[in-house]
């Protein structure tokens, strides 16, 4: 469509001034934007306040959408469950029996663990989640991978707390509002998590790549001991995450480790639990802001 004639200011002084002022304001707006952008590079948490307030304001809508989303997903699951129900049922029964046996064995190991720890005078306190909430949204159009959570500082959520689903680690809290908070997902390219291979002591860092995969960087370089299908769990180093939560499965090998796919896809999780920081003393040793601390 052709522009309307209003942009040509003719002889009207008022129209000329209006047009000129518009350009000036637009230019100043762009400058202010540049300054704010520079500020938020140096202080990523600087604008956390207005951002969390805005998230809080839309949280009724996002909560409702999240409820509908999980509801419709489970409906779809129950419909697709009918497909080849008979053979699936038989297979699941077999798996179930095996799993029961493994569970009993694990229970025996746990009891032995408790007894041995008792001998060593190690105390294991029960870890209860701070809050349980839905993932209500994410920054789906941005390069960064953040998710929004339907619980905030009113529920006791604090910056740095680990977020996990029944399957494994989801991420950690980056900003809190009064009843919503922002989560740095594992797949974000600023997220770094100390992990170890389940079953032995091969320690590594799991870094997000920004394209749905994690890069497993081994700490001890040498012959790459990884195999496709290896499961990595949190190692507990750094003090944020408790050890032994599933993180990712290796899908491809590289020179210094491998590429891994996350175990707990946030899009497929219903509720997530926010847990207290594992070792607050160790974690508070780093006084730098969360985003900066993660990068090194």
């Amino acid at each position: 469509m052709a522009p309307s004639g209003t942009r040509r200011s003719s002889y009207s002084r008022r129209a000329q001034y209006n047009l000129f002022t518009g350009y000036i304001i637009a230019g100043i707006g762009a400058l202010i934007g540049a300054v704010l952008l520079g500020l938020s590079f140096f202080q990523p948490s600087f604008f956390g306040g207005p951002r969390s307030a805005a998230q809080d304001a839309v949280s009724p809508a996002t909560e409702t959408a999240a409820t509908v989303r999980t509801g419709s997903k489970s409906l779809w699951d129950s419909i697709s469950g009918y497909y080849r129900a008979g053979s699936k049922n038989a297979e699941l029964k077999r798996e179930m029996e095996l799993a029961r046996i493994r569970l009993e064995e694990a229970e025996a190991v746990r009891q032995e663990n408790v007894r041995l720890k008792g001998l060593l005078d190690l105390q294991d306190q029960e870890r209860t989640p701070v809050a349980v909430a839905r993932l209500v949204g994410s920054t789906a159009s941005s390069t960064r991978r953040f998710a929004y959570l339907g619980a905030g500082s009113d529920d006791g959520v604090e910056v740095g707390m680990p977020v996990r689903s029944p399957r494994g680690v989801v991420g950690r809290i980056l900003e809190t509002g009064s009843d919503s908070s922002r989560v740095l997902l594992l797949t974000d390219s600023e997220s770094v998590l100390p992990v170890r291979r389940a079953g032995d002591e091969t320690v590594a860092f799991a870094e997000g790549r920004g394209d749905s995969l994690l890069r497993i960087k081994l700490i001890n370089l040498g012959i790459n001991p990884l195999k496709v299908g290896d499961l990595f769990v949190t190692s507990g180093a750094g003090g944020y995450y408790p050890p032994g939560i599933a993180v990712a499965i290796v899908t491809e090998l590289t020179d210094d480790g491998g590429l891994a796919r996350i175990v707990s896809d946030p899009a497929a999780t219903d509720f997530v639990a926010i847990e207290p920081i594992f070792e607050p003393d160790a974690a508070s040793g780093a006084t730098t802001p969360v985003e900066e601390e993660l990068t090194d």
Binding site: M1, A2, P3, S4, T6, R7, G22, Y23, I25, A26, G27, G29, A30, I32, G33, A34, V35, L36, L37, L39, S40, F41, P44, F46, F47, P50, R51, A54, Q55, V58, A61, T62, A65, R69, L135, G137, S138, T139, A140, S141, S142, T143, R144, R145, A147, Y148, T187, D188, S189, E190, R209, G210, D211, S212, L213, I262, D265, P266, A267, E291
Partner: protein
Amino acid sequence: MERMEPRARSDAYGSRINRSHSPLLANIIPWLSILLGSLVPVFAIAAALPMVPPLGFLTLLAWRLVRPGLLPVWAGFPLGLFDDLFSGQPFGFAILFWSASMLVIEFVELRLPWRAFWQDWFTAGLLVIAYILSGWLLSGATPTLPSLVALVPQLLMSILIFPFIARIVARLDRLRLRRWKRV
């Protein structure tokens, strides 16, 4: 007395007798639709890739290109401010880029006052590519090659969805200037 053609006294926005535009709707619909566009991507859970096109930015471009002269040049500042609250980019990115895009379109329009839709689409495509790529550069994270590759689906989708958004904007524009009954 012979009857008149019933549509003789109406135009695309409805009958002209005893009807008039709603000033509230006429002013608020462009702004509101852009704000909604900024808000919609929040509802999708995208853990793996940036999947959803920057709908707020695309709606702004569509209003600016489909209906030139409606949004003031400075509209990028307040709308970008709102988008920054939800987009996940560092604060200020949308303010800067939306204001700059409005100025760029203004100067393109000085050169090419009469355009066809495909030229609008071309302009919007170039701007959205620049927007997404600079968003990748200035995301606050270190730009890596895999995350650049991960942008490709979003880029394609953003370019392909523009005609659709332009049609929606044209529909909204008809709603904006609709003549409502005045008693």
